[in-house]
């Protein structure tokens, strides 16, 4: 039997996610991102199509400056403003029944006690459908919004992340099944960043710890993900280059005492689907009218923390000072022979997987065969991109056994992994579990 691909809708509560400046596209409705109805109707549509999850990205501040200021970010709506997904996910928990609800929350954003309780409450409310995307935050402004003096250097950021994540998992995994035992479960933490004495706020939720997503491209990020990720995002340039990525991630997990198969790999794409190749190209041309190469440049530089606006057009970009999330930029560098200029970045073509349902399914089959377990489906417009995917590509994927037709029973973790509802025994979070208290 064919191994299926898991499907997440990859969205963000902002004017346009990842494809600036598609909010200008009159076919899109994402300008209504402040309204709950945009998200409830999208989630219902995705749930009817048996998408595994709806996944909300997030950001805690402005991306790095462009030409020394933030005018472009604000004027063009470049991931700004952005609403926190947590209240949206809480609302969706009561309007949906089956679909997974995943969201980003940074290790500089919360306090372990507060956030563990938020996760537990959500997992109870949703019947075990919550996923947490652990991010370490790489933006200067994000840090300066939460009383930190500036960007925490890379190594220190991951030390902090270890402490934060371990504390959250410890609280969640210590939660007893019997609420009468809450008072006897005291957790004392004295760490570098946090100190507290607490009890779990709730009995164990269906997943106990929500399903854990991570990205992580830098060496420290790879180690961190190898330790904690149950699903990891990758940005591989091609199916051919994927084998090496898969091998690296799986062997890192093994080095942390886990199985290579304990980590699912999700690759992100946006799709433009036509009934013929010609129609697909025409649709791509239409959407590229709202593409803004300079905005893409602002976003890319802003993400890695290098102001591309300060370079001459044809000067190779010096990224030695980059502190941010390097993943996408390193991919571009590698594809360009190790050096790249601002002009080359601006002239990057508008990029999406473009084709007919058959050719796109062929490509996804190649990605699947290369070791990819799931796809994050990005969007140009909401709901149009997802409507097209569901109406035209999904039936072909289902016909080939590449996508599920209906949900399996159980929690998000059980459905994504085929395993149990809770962290498996090899995961570092499981060591916090009270012996003999995990009946499931």
């Amino acid at each position: 039997m064919n191994r299926r691909l898991r499907l997440n809708a990859f969205v963000m509560a902002t004017p346009t996610h990842n494809n600036p400046t598609q909010w200008r596209n009159p076919r899109g409705e994402q300008l209504r991102f402040n309204e709950l109805e945009l998200w409830t109707s999208l989630a219902s549509r995705l749930e009817a199509a048996a998408f595994d999850g709806i996944f909300f990205a997030d950001i805690l501040g402005l991306q790095g400056a462009f030409r020394g200021n933030w005018d472009e970010h604000i004027e063009k709506g470049l991931d700004y403003p952005t609403n926190d997904p947590l209240p949206i996910v809480a609302a969706l928990a009561s309007t949906t029944q089956r679909i997974g609800l995943a969201f980003t929350n940074s290790i500089i954003q919360g306090h372990p006690v507060t956030f563990a309780r938020q996760l537990a409450t959500l997992d109870h409310l949703s019947g075990g459908r919550i996923g947490w995307n652990i991010v370490t935050s790489s933006l200067e402004n994000s840090h300066r919004n939460v009383s930190l003096p500036g960007l925490i250097p890379h190594d220190e950021r991951y030390r902090r992340a270890e402490e934060y994540v371990d504390a959250v998992l410890r609280i969640l995994e210590s939660s007893p099944d019997d609420p009468d035992e809450l008072g006897d479960t005291t957790i004392v933490h004295h760490g570098e960043q946090f100190g507290f004495e607490t009890n779990p706020a709730l009995r164990a939720s269906p997943q106990r710890t929500p399903f854990l997503f991570l990205a992580g491209a830098s060496p420290q990020g790879q180690q961190f993900a190898g330790r904690y990720a149950e699903a990891q995002f990758i940005a591989s340039p091609s199916p051919e280059r994927t084998a090496g990525v898969v091998e690296r991630i799986r062997s890192t997990a093994v080095a942390h005492g886990r199985l290579g198969s304990d980590v699912l790999l999700f690759q992100g794409f946006s799709f433009i689907i036509g009934s013929t190749e010609e129609e697909a190209r025409r649709l791509a041309d239409d959407e590229s009218r709202y593409d803004d190469p300079v905005s893409r440049l602002v976003q890319l530089g802003g993400t890695i923390g290098v102001d591309f606006g300060r370079f001459d057009l044809d000067e190779p970009i010096d990224h030695a000072s980059a502190q941010g999330g390097l993943g996408p930029f390193q991919g571009l560098l590698a594809a360009n022979g190790g050096s790249i200029t601002v002009r080359q970045l601006i002239e990057r073509p508008f990029r999406a997987l473009t084709g007919t349902p058959e050719t796109l399914a062929d490509q996804l089959e190649q990605w699947r065969d290369a070791g990819v377990d799931g796809i994050n489906v990005g969007n140009h417009v909401i709901p149009g991109t997802f409507d097209n995917f569901i109406d035209h590509l999904l039936p072909e994927l289902q016909r080939r056994g590449l996508a599920q037709r209906d949900y399996e029973e159980g929690t998000l973790r059980r459905r994504l992994t085929g395993g149990s509802d809770r962290l498996n025994a090899r995961h570092p979070g499981a060591r916090h579990r009270i012996a003999g208290k995990d009946a499931r």
């Binding site: 063009k76 700004y80 507060t114 109870h124």
Partner: protein
């Protein structure tokens, strides 16, 4: 933004009526709360409040996160205000301000919050290491609110958002500002990351505890909840302090008082008449304008349906009910005194960060 209800007429004609829930987790996390919320919503109750029992130092009782629970009922209600409970030690002000602004967006102006301090020493340390155990707490609360209100009220102009598809202008950068707060407990650059919501600042409730705590945050409190069992002279003292604190702060609109009356442990329809007579007597005795009914577990199940119907039949609710919570309570959708409080916040509003960050190299050398 403004609802269609009768322009030019006072928006709020009945007495404010709220319900505060102190039930156990199964009722809050199952369907019972949503069922009650729908009922109260249909019957015109002004707000539903969810307390945070973990702040009472409860370690043996399940205590779900109120913000999450309140957010989970946005989609199943239409007009009722949704009030969660928060304290400074749970989140950074930027994060807290954003959660509540998003709730206000999603609910189309129905968000409120009750601000309180942890009730026991254990509750303080259960959330975080408290860096300044005695002296700094009230000051920290005030600074927390200063930052939150700066983000809500000062960072975006009303006309900043353009959404101009033709010209490709989402927002006018000249009308969005960094707040550049730098204080003893918090440093927050901004600009705020959510655009102005229907109320901008969700309505701030405060449940009476001590004069000192109130004095610290009085400039911002809009609804003071007094225990219905308080003695009249206590209530008069409370009102006096509240009014003078508000006057000292230079605010023009005074806080509104709601008397909290606990519903009995049994939801008995036959007892509702006597209960309401007592509640009304307490409200008048305390000089409060609004009534807040505090409901425990017995009032969440389907068995409580009849008692609620009898209760709600007997209570006058607003005939005109704007969706926006502040408009329902006070007649105005937004704060009228934000300009005054901006001076108090001593911000360095601008289009750039005012406090240079240390170079990364310096951090690494430390």
């Amino acid at each position: 933004m403004s609802s269609s209800d009768a322009p030019g007429q006072p928006a709020s004609t009945g007495r404010p009526l709220g319900v505060s829930i102190t039930a156990d987790a199964p009722a809050l996390l199952g369907g019972a709360l949503a069922g009650l919320a729908r009922r109260l919503d249909e019957r015109g109750v002004d707000y539903l409040h969810l307390d945070d029992l973990s702040l009472n130092g409860e370690t043996r009782r399940e205590t779900p996160d109120p913000l999450i629970v309140v957010s989970s009922i946005v989609a199943v209600t239409r007009r009722i205000g949704l009030i969660s409970t928060h304290t400074a030690i749970q989140n950074e002000p930027f994060v807290q301000a954003r959660y509540l602004a998003v709730l206000d967006h999603l609910s189309e102006g129905r968000a409120g919050w009750q601000y309180r301090q942890p009730g026991t020493e254990r509750a303080w340390t259960s959330s975080t290491a408290d860096p300044d155990p005695s002296a700094g707490r009230a000051g920290r609360d005030r600074e927390f609110l200063d930052v939150v209100y700066a983000l809500w009220e000062d960072s975006w102009d009303d006309d900043a958002v353009q959404r101009d598809r033709e010209r490709g202008i989402y927002a006018d950068p000249r009308k969005v500002r960094f707040i550049n707060h730098l204080g003893p407990h918090y440093s927050v650059d901004g600009p705020f990351i959510s655009e102005p919501s229907p109320q901008r600042s969700p309505v701030l409730f405060w449940r009476w505890t001590t004069i000192d705590h109130f004095a610290a945050i009085a400039p911002y409190v809009e609804v003071v909840v007094i225990d219905g069992e308080a003695q009249p002279d206590q209530a008069a003292e409370i009102r006096h302090h509240a009014e003078s604190a508000v006057n000292d702060s230079g605010r023009t609109t005074p806080a509104q008082f709601h008397a909290a009356v606990r519903l009995p442990d049994e939801a008995d329809p036959a007892a509702v008449g006597a209960l309401l007579a007592t509640a009304e007597e307490q409200r008048q005795r305390l000089g409060a304008v609004g009534l807040q009914l505090v409901a425990g577990d017995a009032w969440l199940g389907p068995a409580a349906g009849t008692a609620w119907e009898v209760l709600l039949d007997a209570l006058p609710v607003n005939a005109r009910r704007p969706r926006i919570l502040r408009e329902r309570l006070t007649g105005a959708a937004r704060l009228g005194w934000a300009d005054w409080s901006r001076e108090q916040r001593r911000l360095r509003l601008g289009r750039d960060t005012a406090h240079p960050a240390p170079a990364v190299d310096d951090i690494e050398r430390n």
